[in-house]
Amino acid sequence: MSVLDVRNLSVQYPTENGAAEIVKDISFKVEKGEIAGLVGESGSGKSTAMLAVMGLLGERASVRYDQITVSGEAPVPGKNVAMIFQDSLSCLNPSVKIGRQIMETVRSRRKCSRKEAASRSQELLEMAGIRNPELRMRQYPFELSGGMRQRVVLAIALACEPELIIADEPTTALDALVQAQILQLFKRIVRETGTSMLMVSHDMGVTAALCSRVYVMHGGRIEESGTAEDIFYSPSEEYTKLLLRDARGGSLSGMKKEDSLAGQADKCRAEDEPILKMEHVTKIFDASEGIRDLSLEIRSGEILALVGESGSGKTTAARILTGMLTEDEGTVYYHGKVLDRRKRMELFEGRVQMVFQDPYASLNPCLTVREALAEALEAAACRKSVKTDRDRMMQARTDEKIDEMLRMTGLTPEDADRYPRDFSGGQRQRIGIARALIVEPEILVCDEALSSLDATTREQILELIFQIQRKIGFACLFISHDMHVVRRISDRIGVMYGGHIVETGKTKKICADPWHPYTKQLIEAVPEPDPIRAAKIKAAPVKDSADINPSGCAFAGRCGYAMECCGSEIPEDYAFEGREIFCFLYSDRHSGRRSSDYRMTSQI
């Protein structure tokens, strides 16, 4: 008998114009001890379906089904099924200690004394891979890192002693490395406890890494189902193929030209002064955040990517460059000049523009697209003091330019008179790009501009940025946590960890042959949509000591190659043919005295 057996489940919501069917007559099964996967884009109805299985939908929803059983019985949340959600921070009550949140679950499952519950909780936390559970139980959710919180959530789900755990996008909010750890943990738990798991995800890679049976959901329907091998190696439905194509992310269409351009760019690089350069910049917010002694330069016409996990300081670096933040120490040069630290943003006069992460927060909801774009143009025109004919001629030219820009970013001129609330996330991001580019900036900073978008939309926007950049040729600083995206769009990469850059160089070289241990981990942690390769995914050693030792190498605490000197000295910058690396493995001391024609290779 299947652990979970759902037959003909439909969910409807009443709306102003009739009922909207979010889930349309779907059936699926999860067998004992297996991890099944349900993939689909956001809005495909997968979360709604899961909540319907749990019986946790609000009163407005009308749920119909022929059968929902867990081992032949009706599902009871907290008894035979448990659920894990995406955002571990909002899942845990912010003002209640971890210990209490897990103990109340233990005690609601079976009657036992406080003491027994406490020791059981510790056991569960340890099982979920948390060291020092006693300390963690006395802490509040906000004091834990994202990965650790997701472990706590898993421990709580395990406290229910369920036959099935439904995990709704459990790793989406996590960094690649942590995600890899959590995925391994899930595998281990399923193996050890015999619990079944239903994994809901939009990420084909994650699904490939975990699941043995996969359901593909689209528009409220299950489009295709089968074993992981079937789905990933011989998909039959068009939609599944599309999903796989977007997940594999073939090369961007302009990429071939890049080789010819690269030669030119190389020439420019040697002669040109970098447009923006920061030297030894330090900005510290908290003990573990901010950037330390960071140097970086952006040259004209190149796409420089900063990649690293959250908290590595890449956004801080971008914000300092744009002047949104002021540095504590260090200097930022613009065409070789130092600009007044406090007024930098104003002194750039629109030549540095930014595309933000959250497309919902980056557009003023009170202005139509036209008004927003026209305002940017006007500000630019005022500066150039071309006030000769600011009447109809000017107006006509503005409109023309706006239309052109909208077309270029894949919108239509008719969209100009609508308000941001009329657009979807991807469209808003296009508007954001249009607004940034209409003033013809020298540098465009994209701060995680793709990370809140769906895979398909992400591909489109990525393509768009790349195309326009190749066409107009502005310099671009591209911030992302996603190695997969960065690898395809950038010319150069800077890998950041703990506020430092650990490795920089040409994208192709770094991705093909990473030298720094962290870069290597980062590249290996990205799950590929390929069950056989994803099964070999390596999780970095579980070291929760994310505490950064300020007197040594930032990464030493998590590095498998750490030597004695790594804890006590800060590695310098070792440069080899266009590649710079901050690791003692590449120091003279470690690699021995080199002859002049010695060619450094990867030491890991």
């Binding site: 009871v76 959600f85 912010p94 609601s108």
Partner: protein, 313 residues
């Protein structure tokens, strides 16, 4: 935490000092002399003014007043030279406070209860009834409610006494009139914040892990929902503790509010000043306590201050 507390106490004292200064000069701006009433001769007025030091330069008066305040002496009432201002406060404040605290308790209990009921109930009718009642209670000014209550229950029905504060029955009308508004506000706040808390993911997760409805409300949601409510209760209790001018005057209750109104109509400088200083101090202290309580209840700020305190050492 301790450092934060000290900082808050210091700013509190500073604001109190500025308050005394500003009020002192404002009161001196009131034209007319407190003694020039009812055909007292110019001669007499001057003698009395001399006696109280009113003919000295204002600055001298100010400094001597500040000196007195620091010694805990708020001066002598001009209207009734036999009593000190501190004595008047000692006499009037317990009266005000007893009504104020009762009203506070009533409004917190009633408001919280109704707020929870509104957020939890599935019956649309109950929800709308509580909302409408809350709007009625919050919309009608306290003095209008007081007069209506008075007209109905003591003039017309003669169930309850109209004035004074002799027996528990005397408390009913003024306490009702006083607590209507805060109770409505608390019910609204609790209802709204609880509503939005119940939408949050941790409630969904708690349900998913099999915790019962009431346990979720009392151990989880209410804890988070009550912080904004406390932020309202703080200032509200400060105003209840300093007395309502109108309620006290309608029900002829010898409390602080009535003394204040009397002191202004009589231009009793020292009494006005003394009462303002005292009320200011009560407001500042209560607000300070509220802020500290809120900071302490919110684990995030508590930990932040703890950390700051540790690193300061």
């Amino acid at each position: 935490m301790l450092r934060y507390t000290w900082k808050r106490i210091l700013t509190g004292i500073l604001s109190l000092f500025v308050l005394v200064t500003v009020t002192f000069f404002l009161v001196r701006l009131i034209p007319g002399s407190p003694f020039r009433q009812g055909g007292v001769s110019e001669q007499v007025v001057e003698t009395i003014e001399q006696e109280y030091g009113l003919n000295e330069p204002v600055l001298t008066q100010y400094f001597s007043y500040i000196g007195n305040v620091l010694r805990g002496d708020l001066g002598v009432s001009y209207q009734d030279p036999a009593t000190r201002v501190t004595e008047i406060i000692a006499r009037a404040w317990p009266v005000t406070a007893s009504i104020g605290i009762t009203a506070l308790a009533v409004s917190v209990l009633l408001g919280t209860g109704l707020g929870i009921l509104r957020a939890v109930t599935k019956r649309r009718f109950v929800r709308e009834l509580i909302s409408a009642g809350g709007m009625l209670a919050a919309g009608i000014p306290g003095f209008a409610a007081a007069i209506l209550l008075l007209l109905v229950f003591s003039v017309k029905l003669k169930w309850l006494p109209a004035s004074g504060l002799l027996s528990p029955a005397h408390y009913i009308l003024p306490v009702t009139a006083l607590s209507l508004y805060p109770a409505a506000m608390i019910a609204r706040l609790v209802g709204n914040t609880l509503d939005s808390e119940l939408q949050k993911d941790y409630v969904l997760f708690a349900r998913a892990k099999g915790i019962g409805k009431w346990q979720i409300i009392f151990t989880h949601a209410l804890k988070n929902a009550y912080l904004p409510v406390l932020n309202y209760i703080g200032p509200a209790s400060a105003s209840l503790l300093t007395g309502s001018f109108v309620i006290e005057s309608i029900f002829t209750i010898p409390g602080l509010g009535r003394e204040f109104v009397g002191s202004i109509t009589n231009r009793d400088y020292t009494l006005i000043l003394g009462l303002t200083v005292f009320m200011g101090a009560v407001v500042i202290i209560v607000n300070l306590l509220t802020d500290l309580l809120c900071a302490w209840l919110d684990p995030q700020t508590r930990r932040a201050y703890k950390k700051a305190g540790d690193s300061a050492k």
